[in-house]
Subunit: 191 residues, 2 copies
């Protein structure tokens, strides 16, 4: 079975979106967290950045929260044209546009969603994006690895990636890949 | 003039102290943020860790908030036996023990305190520790560099290093020093 990998760009003060993040303003104000790769359809950067970005597109499934999925229009129904299933964690019913997107699946429970995504991904990893669902998934032990693109920026406000957890969780550093616009660090969740 | 360097060990979720941090329990529960060097009087770790730790002791002045200073008993009046002045940012009057500590100076205003510390440090850097005073100092442009020892740990609660800022602040990565127990990253504050 593949790895459930939480994969996020984060500012030094822990934000993954700036102030005012909303459907109409994805990422909020002053958003520079993805400058390390630039345009996802024509990524740029150092060799380290491009290697890091390429890993995303090798995923066998994608999982995200409702907010990110709806802000991006469910990636047009096919995340980065990878042709892999997209699991959306949401307690609400899917919006009507999803009826025409056979790869998109709404799942109410986060642990159930990660389980389905891992099964769909086979021996490839699950690329997981989000914030709101993360604490519950960590508390349940459902996240295998965390890859943070540490961006040299203090956003000063916005949406934080990590919130209060039931208990501390030890991590192990698997890889550090340094570049001017981001320090890419991959962590294993120790159980 | 030397560099005003904020120098902190921080968990991946942004905490510099665990839950229950108090005078009687410095650092709070589950505190493992300083494991990368261990005992400050006999530091251990990899070559990178020891090099990073050694930089602390080359400071020409120390600056901290009241909480840290009082939790440590003002380091017995002499931080790491370095014999350099210690500036404590506090709106309260100093406790009586400080009368016997000629190196310890209480200063009410954080920008004034950093200015006095830089003057005292000469061409050496100011080793700055703390959390509560940090946002005001960043907003005032009084911090030159930030060195974060990124520790592979999710604390899940406690005291965060960074709080809400008046505006975003860009940083520049000066150095990345990777070791198993911490990724040491030094940032310059871009003005």
């Amino acid at each position: 079975m593949g790895t459930a990998l939480l994969d996020m760009s984060m500012s030094l003060d822990g934000y993954i979106a700036g102030p005012g993040d909303a459907l109409e303003l994805p990422g909020g104000e002053g958003f520079a967290l993805h400058d390390w790769f630039g345009d996802p359809d024509a990524p740029a950067g150092t060799e380290a950045d491009l290697r890091q970005f390429a890993e995303i597109t090798q995923a066998g499934a994608v999982l995200s929260g409702r907010r990110t999925a709806q802000q991006t229009g469910h990636w047009g129904g096919d995340h980065h044209a990878m042709g892999v299933p997209i699991f959306v964690v949401s307690r609400s019913a899917p919006p009507s546009e999803v009826a025409d997107m056979p790869l998109v699946h709404y799942v109410r429970d986060v642990v159930e969603a990660i389980g389905q995504a891992k099964e769909a991904a086979g021996d490839r990893h699950v690329h997981m994006i989000g914030a709101g669902w993360v604490p519950a998934a960590i508390d349940a032990g459902a996240i295998d690895e965390i890859r943070i693109h540490h961006v040299p920026l203090l956003m000063g406000g916005g949406r934080r990636l990590f919130d209060v957890l039931a208990r501390p969780v030890a991590l192990e550093i698997l890889q550090v890949d340094a570049a001017p616009k981001a320090t890419h660090i991959r962590y294993r969740v120790v159980r």
